[in-house]
């Protein structure tokens, strides 16, 4: 039946690695990710996790170590934050191995959280899943391996959790029994794992698997196709997780209190938690505005947003990031997804929470109210900092 424990987000990450029976892990400590490394080391030292911990001198080495391990057929895990993630950028690019990495968000311009770190890895070809609470972190760890290792996908997953806000906040978490997790997540069978019976031709063909046809245009096409196939797989895995464990997260996104809504706000990570009670209050006041929590940023749910556009007249997109010189990353992508729909809804952009600025229920309320106004007529400005 599992048990409950009060734990911080970082411990939920490490617990998720234990339950997923990770075999190789390598990570370099960096605030606010450091305690993940400590918890993992503890779990390994106490025998709770039977894994090899590869000690390294940098994030670059951590990233290539787990890639090597995954290539050799081991279930591999790493974790980092902000600048550490930037340092991993090169080996992350184009990687096609089913690694899972926790990214404890830390701004590119401060020690405090925002999503600029993971957004800077937007085009590396990893699946990006954002979490809003400690339970979701633990559950998403387990789901991530199922998604990553799926034959139609076979790609790495980055799991995002807001540094400090989630990494250090303790709350009760339900920990499923190992047997149940084992039934949901079978042992990893690496595609490229070498074996003694391999012919030299097979070995040669195998050599490039980690990068997946490196040096060809086809490698880009395949990578993109696997990524798009991941949309279906993410939804399937989430549904099955729901059946087995009784909790699900909508896969790509979740519509919360959206029934009959004229407008919706779009939020990621912990801002979604702050938005929920605010949306409840607004609905009670008769204001028809709902919440779309975007969990999967890559692959981006273009078609799904186009479907939603038939139902809602306005989207208020909250970006805890900025692409300097352009704008909110999610705002831009969502708006471009809706370019070809008839009766285009209005799309508003809100930048907030950068470099750890606090996002309060009052701010979410202002965003939601403005979005609702936009569902009924033009509002100015289209994009603002909150």
């Amino acid at each position: 039946m599992g048990h409950k424990e009060l734990m911080v987000g970082n411990k939920a990450v490490a617990y998720g690695a234990v339950l997923s029976r990770v075999q190789v892990t390598s990570a370099y400590p960096i605030t606010p990710q450091t305690t993940i490394v400590e918890y993992l080391a503890d779990f390994i030292a106490s025998g709770r996790l039977d894994a090899k911990f590869i000690e390294v001198e940098s994030e670059m080495s951590a990233q290539v170590s787990v890639q090597g391990a995954s290539w050799a057929g081991a279930r591999a895990f790493t974790a980092t934050s902000g600048p550490g993630l930037l340092y991993m950028h090169h080996p992350m690019m184009g990687c096609r191995l089913p690694i899972v990495m926790a990214v404890v968000h830390r701004s590119n311009k401060s020690m405090q959280p925002d999503h600029t770190d993971l957004m800077a890895q937007r085009d590396t070809g990893w699946i990006h899943l954002y979490c809003e609470n400690t339970q979701e972190v633990l559950d998403t760890m387990i789901m991530s391996y199922r998604i990553a290792e799926n034959d139609r996908v076979y790609l790495p997953v980055a799991l995002g959790l807001d540094g400090y806000i989630l990494s250090y906040t303790a709350e009760p978490v339900e920990i499923p029994d190992q047997d149940l997790v084992d039934s949901f997540l079978p042992p990893f069978k690496g595609r490229s794992a070498p074996h003694p019976d391999m012919t030299i031709e097979e070995w040669r063909a195998n050599m490039s698997r980690g990068a997946g046809g490196y040096g060809t245009q086809k490698a880009w096409i395949d990578h993109h196709e696997n990524m798009m196939a991941a949309k279906e797989v993410i939804v399937e895995v989430d549904e099955e997780f729901g059946k087995v464990f009784g909790r699900s997260y909508g896969g790509l996104y979740e519509e919360y209190n959206c029934e009959g809504a004229e407008a919706v706000i779009v939020a990621m990570g912990t801002i979604a938690s702050t938005a929920r009670p605010t949306i409840d209050d607004l609905r009670e006041e008769g204001k028809d505005v709902g919440l779309v929590k975007l969990k999967t940023f890559r692959p981006f749910p273009h078609d799904e947003f186009r479907e939603m556009a038939k139902r809602y007249n306005a989207f208020g997109v909250i970006d805890r990031n900025i692409s300097i010189g352009s704008g909110g990353v999610v705002f831009n992508e969502l708006r471009s997804a809706l370019y070809n729909v008839d009766d285009k809804p209005s799309v508003l952009g809100f930048h907030t929470g950068l470099s750890g600025e606090e996002v309060t229920p009052g701010m979410v309320r202002r965003i939601a109210e403005k979005t609702l106004e936009a569902a009924r007529g033009p509002v100015e400005p289209l994009v603002e900092w909150v």
């Binding site: 409950k4 009060l6 606010p32 809003e132 609470n133 807001d162 400090y164 806000i165 989630l166 250090y168 906040t169 303790a170 709350e171 009760p172 912990t270 801002i271 938690s273 702050t274 929920r276 009670p277 605010t278 606090e358 996002v359 309060t360 229920p361």
Partner: protein
């Protein structure tokens, strides 16, 4: 939903207190959050932590700005930190203080609970770590959490003797806590610190014996905060900026500077 803000100094265990309170609530089948506000952690610096107790789907992820309860682990902190900021009108203050509630000066008629947590901690733990004692006071004053739950949370946190003596601290504080009404005043006399002040980092302050000081300037050279001025060839420390590092004491060749406990200055 109840929301609690805890104030302490680094080393007193405010973050642990928040953790224990959240665990105690969790043991009573409530949902809870323990939120540390992370800045630079150093012994002596003011620390804030928060606790939310209530339903799971109401757990927002911002800090707490309008608490129902404010818990203060340090007896001097209320002079430098605005501890009542945002406290709800019907809110309550739980203070580590050796004086009864009636002697606590406040602008508004909040309910006040006091306990000499430092005294109790020194007696039971032998160290001025006030986090468990103040929780005993919280339980007694608010009734929001059961004493048994807090004791269980303490036992889960520390095994063996350490757990036992901390349970004693909880129980002793529970017995000794007084609840009452404060003394309402027009202005709370605080110590307004100038910008960039390091005064609240100190647990100890350097005090110069002007008789012994030879005016050699070594302390003046080595002070990392540049807060020593030579006045008439004697070392004079600006306490608004002194961070209490004690380097001047180490460097003084004639032993003219001595570190004295800040709390000895009394309440």
């Amino acid at each position: 939903m109840i929301e609690i803000r805890l104030h302490g100094r680094g080393g007193q265990g405010a973050v642990t207190a928040s953790r224990l309170l959240a665990t105690a609530a969790f043991l009573e089948d409530k949902h809870s959050q323990s939120i540390p506000m992370y800045g630079t952690e150093r012994r002596g610096a003011p620390v804030t932590a928060f606790v939310r107790i209530g339903e799971k789907d109401k757990m927002v992820r911002s800090l707490i700005h309008e608490p129902d309860y404010v818990v203060v682990l340090d007896s001097l902190l209320r002079k430098t930190v605005n501890i009542t900021e945002g406290l709800k009108d019907d809110g309550m203050l739980i203070l580590n203080s050796s004086v009864p509630p009636e002697e606590i000066e406040l602008l508004k008629p909040y309910k006040v609970a006091t306990v000499d947590a430092t005294g109790i901690a020194l007696e039971t733990l032998g160290r001025p770590i006030t986090n468990t004692a103040i929780l005993g006071a919280f339980v007694k004053a608010t009734g929001e959490i059961g004493l048994e739950s807090v004791i269980e949370a303490v036992k889960q946190q520390w095994k063996g003797t350490l757990g036992e003596i901390n349970v004693k601290a909880v129980e002793a504080a529970y017995e000794a806590t007084e609840v009452g009404d404060p003394k309402i005043v027009a202005e709370v006399v605080g110590e307004k610190a100038p910008a960039g002040s390091r005064a609240d980092w100190r647990t100890f302050r350097p005090v110069v014996d002007l008789e012994k000081c030879t005016g050699c300037r070594l302390c003046w050279v080595y002070c990392p905060e540049h807060c020593i001025e030579m006045v008439d060839d004697k070392s004079v420390i600006d306490y608004a900026y002194c961070k209490g590092c004690g380097i001047c004491v180490e460097e003084c060749p004639v032993g003219a500077i001595e570190m004295k406990s800040e709390s000895e200055r009394g309440e």
